[in-house]
């Protein structure tokens, strides 16, 4: 299998009035061609910053060090205009909040058309505005959009012509979400990043979106960010767990779900699938803030299995069977440092 994306030692910081936020601390991540990777973690753990950094949209944050190699090119070294070529056409994004991610002033058709124009003509102001704003455009455009919408199970559901003339606020959440996916797909990207694709939806739309994603992951490389375990389970081959700006566990989905190794992963999973009569997992401490890190492992204040070493040394990444864990519990002599 070919490696498509490889992130090595990525550090991203934000300077805020309250102090320096270390949003990403030495991220190592790899996504193979045609593979779907699920990224889990609580809000504020740095996952949003991570995928924005992949598109170099993490402003006002700064990439301090590390590399993002996509298809053999290091994205951190590209110029702004080269980066624009990557966005949308190489790596596309499906954002989290469908209610704010579409521009309220343009119709759905204009915004889909814009994605096509960017793909064909580039993202310059004149090339996208003069033709882009002026309505729904040509036959070819209609055909292409129809095809994509059909793929998203929207083709038979809604009248394409009417949908294109609508403004975002006139659509329901499920439809908007799929319009956003369609917009991403129109750029023919090699990789799709979906940020919490199912959280803000009602139940029926959620099920449909999951189906769509499930179909897409057969033929695309995807990075799905979610804490919806169903979404991860139905789509992903591998998962990565993030905590405190670090990837603390990665491995094949089934192996991580059945046999979570890092105490945080265990807690995270057990908090989501308890049933009646279970004893709730004991949780102490508060969410980590990314400004004042505890010394050592960032999880140790909340960790049920913390050891003395945990508050002193940052754990290194250790390979156990087919998974990678960053935890002192699994440390062997040669990897501690």
């Amino acid at each position: 299998m070919k490696e498509l994306l490889k992130v090595t030692g990525l550090n991203v910081v934000f300077d805020t009035p309250a102090g320096r936020v270390h949003a990403n601390r030495g991220i190592n991540l790899m996504v193979n061609e045609n593979e779907t990777l699920g990224l889990m973690g609580e809000s504020g753990c740095g996952k949003t910053v991570l995928f924005l950094s992949l598109l170099r949209l993490q402003q006002p944050g700064r990439i301090v060090s590390g590399s993002i190699v996509f298809d053999g090119r290091d994205l951190t070294k590209l110029t702004t205009s080269e980066m624009q070529q990557v966005r949308g056409r190489q790596i596309a994004l499906v954002p989290q909040d469908h209610s704010t991610a579409l521009n309220p002033a343009f119709t759905v058709g204009q915004q889909l058309n814009e994605a096509l124009l960017v793909r064909d003509n580039g993202g310059g102001l004149w090339k996208t505005s003069l033709i882009g704003c002026s309505g729904r455009g040509s036959q070819a455009f209609q055909e292409e959009v129809k095809a994509v919408l059909g793929e998203l199970a929207l083709g038979d559901l809604v009248d394409t012509g009417r949908l294109l003339g609508r403004y975002p606020h006139q659509l329901s959440g499920g439809i908007r979400q799929r319009v956003l996916i369609a917009m991403a797909l129109l750029g023919h990207p090699r990789m799709l990043i979906a940020d919490e694709p199912t959280t803000a939806l009602d139940r029926a739309s959620r099920v449909q979106t999951l189906e769509v994603l499930n179909r897409l992951c057969e033929r695309m490389t995807m990075l799905i960010i979610s804490h919806d375990l169903d979404a991860i389970r139905t789509t992903c081959e591998r998962v990565a767990v993030m905590y405190g700006g670090r990837i603390i566990e990665t491995g094949p989905m089934l192996s991580v779900f059945r046999n979570p190794r890092h105490p945080y992963t265990r807690l995270f999973l057990s908090c989501q699938k308890f049933s009646r009569g279970d004893v709730l997992p004991e949780v102490t401490g508060d969410v980590l803030n990314l400004i004042d890190f505890p010394l050592g492992c960032s999880f140790h204040p909340r960790c049920p299995r913390a050891m003395p070493v945990c508050s002193e040394l940052e754990p290194a990444e250790v390979h156990v069977d087919d998974t990678m864990v960053a935890c002192h519990l699994y440390a062997t002599g040669e990897t501690t440092c």
């Binding site: 702004t80 606020h169 750029g187």
Partner: protein, 325 residues
């Protein structure tokens, strides 16, 4: 609870509101001379007529609708106003409507281009300043526009005239034309005379708009759809001018409507300095001569202009923001 309105109904209800305002303004015009200290007859007719012979005074009273009970006077007044009979100027000895018609176009010739040019200038400068926030460009723009915003317009007009008119002699010292020209030469001549006042008005108008556009682009900059536009692969300028500025236009239109009175007042003041034969100069002369009918007519017509401006702004706003449809 939210009220949903059909756009046509919204426009119609606005129109009704504006009609009420119009009515209030006419009534105010009727009441002011009668409520203010001093004899209303003198207030309306002026001193000369008042101290003339009693017979003439009676005759004038009848002619001017100052006889009979107040409510009769009022309805007559209302009828006259709606017919376009706004009284007679004592200063230039002709109907107020005629005098205003002569002057209004010169004021509009300054105001309308200034609004459009000012909004354009503000949109571009504000967007750039917001994009390069806290850079030298931003600070420079902000400082310049803030200064223009603070200085009294007519004083700036004097300074400009002094520098470009007296010292450098690039532009004429006032008025609309230099003399008998026709055709194209006339247009060029008027344009040449317009440069200073129009430029000043444009920058003044842009000054406040600039702050509005800058703030709204900054807040739009935090919206998800701007991030999404970038993630699509649009260039920085396309994101800025297509997505961010497009959504900053609606607040700009609202502000233009609210500020219309201020920009009009600014125009009136600088007209005096530039001897521009518009409403400002007319009002200035009328103040000196205590020419009440002209002042009242001017107040009325300027109020009508403001209503029209507000009405247009409302409609443009609906057009710009699909969510209000």
């Amino acid at each position: 609870m939210e009220r949903h309105q059909h756009p046509a109904a919204a426009v119609a209800s606005k129109a009704v509101r504006y009609l009420i305002v119009l009515f209030v303004i006419i009534s105010l015009n009727f009441l002011l001379p009668r409520l203010m200290p001093g004899d209303p007859v003198m207030n309306v007719l002026g001193e000369e007529a008042y101290y003339g012979s009693p017979e003439v005074l009676e005759e004038l009273k009848a002619e001017w609708g100052l006889d009979g009970p107040l409510y009769v006077q009022y309805f007559r007044y209302l009828g006259n106003y709606l017919k376009g009979d706004w009284g007679h100027s004592f200063l230039c000895m002709r109907p107020v409507s005629e005098a205003i018609g002569l002057h209004l176009r010169w004021t509009l010739a300054l105001v309308l281009p200034a609004i459009i040019l000012g909004a354009l200038l503000a949109a571009i400068a504000g967007a750039l300043a917001a994009w390069y926030r806290k850079s030298k460009l931003d600070i420079g723009f902000s400082a310049t526009f803030l200064s223009f915003y603070s200085m009294p317009h007519y004083w700036l007009a004097m300074v400009l005239l002094f520098v470009f008119g007296f010292l450098l002699g690039w532009f004429p010292l006032g008025k609309v034309t230099s003399g008998d020209t026709t055709g194209l030469a006339y247009v060029v001549d008027v344009g040449w005379h317009m440069v200073l006042p129009l430029g000043l008005l444009t920058v003044s108008k842009a000054a406040y708009d600039f702050l509005v556009v800058r703030n709204s682009v900054i807040s739009i900059y935090g919206e998800d759809y701007v991030l999404m536009a970038q993630a699509k692969g649009l260039s920085q300028m396309a994101v800025l001018f297509k997505h961010a500025v497009r959504n900053a236009l609606a607040p700009l239109v609202t502000v233009t409507a609210i500020q219309f009175g201020a920009i009009l007042s600014g125009t009136l003041m600088i007209e005096i300095v530039f001897s521009w034969p518009g409403m400002g100069t007319m009002i200035y002369e009328a103040i000196g001569a205590r020419d009440y009918p002209v002042l009242q007519g001017a107040f009325f017509i300027i109020a009508v202009c403001m209503l029209v401006a507000n009405f247009i702004a409302d409609m443009v706003y609906v057009w710009l923001d699909p969510r209000t449809r």
